[in-house]
Assembly symmetry: C2
Homo-oligomer: 338 residues x 2
Amino acid sequence: MVRKVVTLKDIAKRAGVSSMTVSRVMNGNTKEVSDKTSEKIRKIAHEMGYVPNSSARALASRSSRLIAALLQEYDEDYNPLEDSYTSYFLGELARQIKKEGYDLMIHYVKDYSEITYSLKSWNVAGAVFIGMFDESIRKLQEDNHIPLIFTDSYSTVRSITNVGIDDYAGGELAARHFLENGHRNLAFYGPEVLDNGVVTHRMRGFVTVLREAGISLPLENFMDLGVKDLGAALKRLCSGENPVTGIFTTADNCAYRIYSEAYRMGIRVPDDLSVIGFDDLNMSAMITPPLTTVRQDIKKKAAVTCDLLMKHIRETDPPAENIIMNVELVERGSVRRR
Amino acid sequence: MVRKVVTLKDIAKRAGVSSMTVSRVMNGNTKEVSDKTSEKIRKIAHEMGYVPNSSARALASRSSRLIAALLQEYDEDYNPLEDSYTSYFLGELARQIKKEGYDLMIHYVKDYSEITYSLKSWNVAGAVFIGMFDESIRKLQEDNHIPLIFTDSYSTVRSITNVGIDDYAGGELAARHFLENGHRNLAFYGPEVLDNGVVTHRMRGFVTVLREAGISLPLENFMDLGVKDLGAALKRLCSGENPVTGIFTTADNCAYRIYSEAYRMGIRVPDDLSVIGFDDLNMSAMITPPLTTVRQDIKKKAAVTCDLLMKHIRETDPPAENIIMNVELVERGSVRRR
DNA sequence: TTGTAAGCGTTATCAA
DNA sequence: TTGATAACGCTTACAA
């Protein structure tokens, strides 16, 4: 009982027209077809349960209504969607793209070679890169002549289209907030700086403001995700005669970890240690105490990314744009006045 | 400068064979082609940067190496990937599917009609349903003759292939744990029960164990996501002469909200109020105090889902299976002994 | 082991 | 406003 697929031809036969006419109607080229036949065809198509075959479309037109979202799979054992920032952004992107009538494919990427392969294989209409792809950008652009939108890139390639945020300003905001609240001895926690342009800039903004205030942090106040025992490190920093009283983390996720380790070591937030995060994930308002953080508007970022993508798909040769969105400090309960 | 796409034919010409031979080699039908030509063709294909055209493949073979993940978009304003359970599961699924050499497409679904449309349109090889699709299952199976794997379904349709967990047992575990720790007056918090089979069963397991212990909960101890002021409700429950001392939530996400509102109202967890969650998301070990929760192995669930899907794609007419995975109680710091 | 021929369902192009 | 015809790149089925 193989239900035959309904094709343009079937509809054409039933309507007594050629399949080209049906094709035109199904593509909404309504001005090329008389209203009467158009209406009739639409009705028949509906009755017969017609579903256009995207593969055939893609083959014939050499482009599909498919967008690829590329996620860096840094590590065999790490799932990029564990990160709330990434999953939230991806989710919003998916909704926007659906609204535009496109479908979304997700690709985890380990090797560079995988990227071009999958984009070409599906005649993808455009791609959005989530995560760090800076080193491959030039090559990607050479190999794929479709719109490529990057996010949070600090690549120096000039022809890149990117949506990012003002990371540096975010770092500044955090530093100023600590300063205004009387903190003088601070620390920093995040991924190893070298990996990631975003982290670098957040840190630079932070450090620069402090330096201007005459504060320079000793090297041991910079911790990265690799520290063996974060709790112990925290304990060390927060004791002695000149204890650290505040810590800036490059992501809310990192701040949560600080909360957790601080709790384990009996360090109270914010009484003993104040914390500022980055992103303003949903969880940050719910955690105890609510996290003071540098907020980026992830939803809007996704919308902007999608708009940009559509613009690049529809217009021929639009200029490269680097859109930088603002960030703001959200004061909650994790910074104590000193 | 339109770079011409490399096709089988191009390779064939270069190798002095027919495109069928190349096709066979590219599909790994290595036993049908002599080792020598096979090797030669592979080399040429690589040199020319050949990328198979998935659309053409799908068109010719009437099936693609594409899997669709369908997510319920309950609400215009709600992003399903905000939910950590969903995004984690999806992420793991994506990795598994990639390992199998398939690509993954994500679809947000509002109307039933969208589902069949997108599955057919792309000649998808199979689909995984994440969220509640119970009412449409029968119709989906009639309309789409491809493997459909459901998750967490309590549909009574017998021919369904589903991967779920023992929700009822989870509820029991929570109840027993409260009982063992001397709690007698308990509450429940979760989505409106009617919406969701999963929630119903978690609650039933919970309530049944309590009833067997001679405890029956008043109706006002059952709260759903719709309560106007959760904090106030909590406060009310936790005061009076017979205060509630423990609350079972149907998801860790709900537990986080309880933490947050309790904090706001000055109710201490676990001193005043003990909490048990469900899922064991990453965050649950980090929050303060660490959450005691009913754990499900989401990673494994995704792996099982993918295995089942592949089995149904590769074998003809495999039996419908309903795989139910175990849950376990993870004791951490959110339940106090009384 | 290899090749030929006929599609797969659509769109591009040109003609009517 | 409509139609005929030839692709698009691949696989199926069969023949050599």
